[in-house]
C-alpha cells in the first residue's frame, strides 16, 4: 500500500512538478501572479472533472475521458507554444498550460485517494505514501528549478530545448490516448528499447515525465513528436527577448 501510493503520486506529480518548475524558472520575477493565475482555473477544472468523472467516462462509446485528457494535453502544448511566441500573454498562458496538466493528474490522484476500497486500508500508509510521493517529487522539482534558473542565465538554447521537450511530452501523451481510442492511426512501431531502457525503470520513469519517453513508439507518435518539437522550438525563438521585455 505504502509503496504503491508513493509510486502513484510520483507518477502523477513528477510531470506536473517538472513543468511547474520550468515555468517558474521562466517567470521567476512574477511567481505570485503566476500562482494566482494557475490556482483558480486549476481548482475549477479539477472540481468539474472529478465530480463528473463517471458521466465523462461514459461519453463517446466510453472514450469520453480519453478525449477530454487528449484535449487538455494538446491544450497544454498549444498554450505553451503561444506563451513562448507572444511575450505579452506568456504569463497567463503558461499558468493555464500548467492548470490543464494539473487537472488531469489531479483528477487521477483524487480518484485514487477516494477509492471506495481505500476506506478499509490503513490511512497512515496512505498519508505517509502521499507525503513521500509529494516530498520526492517536489525535491526533484526544486533541483530542476535551480538547474534551469542557472541554464536560463548561461545558455538560453538549452532552456528552450528543455521547455520544448516538456511541451512536446504532452503531445506524446495525447497521441497515445487517441491511438488507444482508435481516433488516430498508430502506424508501424518505430523501435523497441524495452530491454535497454524499460519505462518502469527509474531513468525511464524520469524520461517519461520529462520528454514523454516511450519504449515502443509508433509512427504517428514519432511524427507528432518531431513536428511538435520543431514548432515549440520555433515559437520560443524570441524567448530571451520576451523575458527581457517582461522584466
Amino acid at each position: 500500500m505504502l509503496i504503491n501510493t508513493v509510486l502513484m503520486f510520483l507518477r502523477e506529480l513528477l510531470p506536473l512538478f517538472l513543468l511547474l518548475a520550468t515555468l517558474l524558472a521562466w517567470h521567476s520575477n512574477q511567481w505570485r501572479r503566476f500562482t494566482l493565475l494557475l490556482t483558480l482555473p486549476a481548482i475549477l477544472m479539477l472540481a468539474l472533472f472529478s465530480s463528473n468523472m463517471l458521466w465523462i467516462s461514459e461519453q463517446l462509446d466510453g472514450f469520453g475521458l480519453e478525449l477530454l485528457y487528449s484535449l487538455l494535453y494538446a491544450g497544454c502544448f498549444v498554450l505553451l507554444c503561444m506563451a513562448a511566441a507572444k511575450g505579452v500573454v506568456a504569463l497567463p498562458f503558461s499558468a493555464l498550460a500548467c492548470a490543464c496538466l494539473l487537472s488531469i493528474n489531479g483528477s487521477n490522484l483524487l480518484l485514487y485517494i477516494w477509492l471506495p476500497g481505500q476506506g478499509n486500508a490503513d490511512p497512515s500508509a496512505l498519508l505517509l505514501g502521499m507525503a513521500l510521493g509529494v516530498g520526492i517529487g517536489s525535491s526533484i522539482a526544486v533541483l530542476w528549478y535551480y538547474l534551469l534558473t542557472e541554464l536560463k542565465q548561461l545558455h538560453i538554447l538549452s532552456y528552450r530545448l528543455l521547455l520544448s521537450l516538456l511541451g512536446v511530452r504532452q503531445i506524446m501523451m495525447a497521441s497515445a490516448l487517441l491511438i488507444q481510442s482508435d481516433w488516430l492511426p498508430a502506424g508501424p512501431q518505430l523501435w523497441q528499447t524495452e530491454q535497454w531502457l524499460p519505462e518502469q525503470s527509474e531513468l525511464g520513469f524520469f524520461l517519461q515525465a520529462l520528454l514523454g519517453y516511450e519504449a515502443t513508439p509508433v509512427l504517428s507518435q514519432g511524427v507528432a513528436y518531431l513536428g511538435g518539437l520543431v514548432l515549440l522550438l520555433w515559437c520560443s525563438r524570441n524567448l530571451k527577448n520576451n523575458r527581457r521585455s517582461a522584466q
Binding site: M8, G62, P116, Q180, S181
Partner: protein, 119 residues
C-alpha cells in the same frame, strides 16, 4: 460526376473489418483470464469489465496503454497490431494482485489455439 459512378466507386472501396473483440474481467482485484491469447499482426478491441466497486487502471508499459475503469463499469481500448510475443499488464491501483499477460500468437499458432478452444 454521375451519381451512379460515385455509388460504384464507394462499393469498390475495401470494407474495413471490425477488430476482433476480447474480454477481460476484473473481480476481487484480479484479472480474468490472467493470460489472454490474441492474434499477432491484427488490431484488436479489448473490453475490460470491472466487477469490483472500486475503480482500477488498466496499465501496460509494453502495450503503451493505460485506462481508468470506474467501479462496476466497462471500458474499451484498441490494441495492436502486435508483434508476436508476451505483453504484461497490471492494475495500477492494485499492482500486487491485478496482473496478467497478453500473448500475441503468430497466424498458425493462433489458428491452432482457436481450433483447440473450439473442441
Amino acid at each position: 460526376m454521375p451519381w451512379q459512378h460515385i455509388t460504384l466507386m464507394s462499393l469498390a472501396l475495401p470494407v474495413l473489418a471490425e477488430p476482433m473483440l476480447f474480454e477481460l474481467q476484473i473481480k476481487d482485484h484480479l484479472f480474468h483470464p490472467s493470460v489472454l491469447y490474441v492474434p499477432a499482426g491484427e488490431k484488436i478491441k479489448l473490453l475490460v469489465l470491472n466487477q469490483d466497486p472500486s475503480p482500477e487502471e488498466f496499465e501496460s508499459f509494453s502495450l503503451n496503454r493505460e485506462k481508468v475503469i470506474l467501479g462496476n463499469s466497462k471500458a474499451t481500448l484498441f490494441i495492436g497490431p502486435l508483434q508476436p510475443g508476451r505483453y504484461q499488464f497490471f492494475g495500477e491501483y492494485n499492482p500486487d494482485s491485478a496482473q496478467g499477460v497478453l500473448i500475441a500468437l503468430p497466424e498458425a499458432q493462433w489458428q491452432q489455439h482457436r481450433a483447440d478452444n473450439a473442441n
